[in-house]
């Protein structure tokens, strides 16, 4: 039993997610990811329960662990009460803690997520806001969304939102003292450090790839690379 395996076992989601697997395949049978990626949750459970550090390290450095969509459909069906999706979350956490995530194309995408979602949480109190869904990056949102996006205050007002204003209501501005509480929670619980870790490992990788990662936001070459790069070798 190796060091990586032991660290995985410290994560509750590994303990809850994988008690013992008998390789029956019910998870893979209905997994949305197994259907469209070269991905088999059953094999991941089997690899982890073998407790072999070399294979686990390989897994942590691979694209494989980043294919899951965390829909947790696997949990409903498993006859052994496992949740491969939770195990994936533990693997991803460890991959980021070890800096292995930057070894894979799909893992490197964590940088873009950290920059967009992470910063949005800390600076606005929302994971997702209309302004983040820029039609240029979201052609699939279609022309109606483009119209909404170009007329946000008017449209939001019409449907009863409290767009960027104080007080309760949809899309209200979240007060600075609330944001400071959220930031405090991130500070105390290790959320802030984890963001920092993703930043640092990503910047190292960006340097290695001779791409600029900037200090903030998505207006840099490394962000574009991880946000749009698809080698097509995933299916």
């Amino acid at each position: 039993m190796g060091r990586l395996y032991e660290r995985l076992c410290e994560d509750l989601r590994c303990l809850e997610g994988l008690k013992s697997c008998m390789n029956c395949g019910v998870c893979t049978a209905i997994c949305p990811s197994a259907e469209f990626y070269r991905y088999d949750p059953r094999k991941i459970c089997d690899t982890v329960q073998r407790a072999d550090d070399e294979s686990i390290e390989q897994l942590l450095k691979s694209d494989t662990i980043w294919y899951c969509g965390e829909c947790m459909s696997c949990k409903t069906r498993c006859p052994r009460g496992n949740t491969p999706g939770l195990l994936i979350m533990a693997l991803r956490k460890l991959s980021q803690e070890m800096g292995y995530f930057t070894d894979s194309e799909k893992g490197r995408q964590q940088f873009a997520i950290r920059r967009v979602i992470g910063d949005s949480i800390l600076t606005t109190g929302y994971c997702m806001r209309p302004i983040l869904v820029n039609p240029a990056n979201h052609p699939e949102q279609g022309p109606v969304w483009e119209w909404v996006y170009n007329n946000l205050p008017e449209v939001m007002d019409k449907v009863g939102a409290n767009y960027l204003k104080d007080g309760p209501g949809a899309l209200r501005r979240i007060a600075p003292e609330v944001l400071s509480e959220i930031n405090q929670i991130f500070q105390v619980t290790g959320g802030q450090d984890f963001f920092q870790l993703i930043e640092e490992f990503s910047k190292d990788k960006a340097d290695e790839m001779c791409l600029d990662a900037g200090e903030l936001g998505g207006d840099n070459a490394y962000f574009s690379e991880v946000y749009t790069k698809n080698s097509g070798n995933h299916h």
Binding site: A34, E35, F36, R38, P139, E140, T228, N230, H235
Partner: protein
Amino acid sequence: MSEWGFTVIQTNQSDMDQMDRGLIAKIGNAEPSIFWCIGCGSCSATCTAAQFNNFSPRRIIQAIRSGQVKDIMGEVNKCLLCGKCQLVCPRHVNTRNILLNVKQIMGQDAI
């Protein structure tokens, strides 16, 4: 990638009702022992070729039986025809002969 930045992905799910049953029908006649396989994997474990490439006789029998034979010749050609698979098989499956038959049938089809 398209102007969208992504595309529709083909499913990996095997639609077992749409599989090619032609090959298994022919091989089943020539070498019925293909139906006896229980997927134990002893053939793949002993396989000489598998030491050097990712060839797996167990997987190939499985593929023929379920009709997933689109790219099968590439796989079959990895086999060295040494016959060790046949020696270790607990069900007396003549894997070597199955592969020979695939070559023959697919070769014929090609002509």
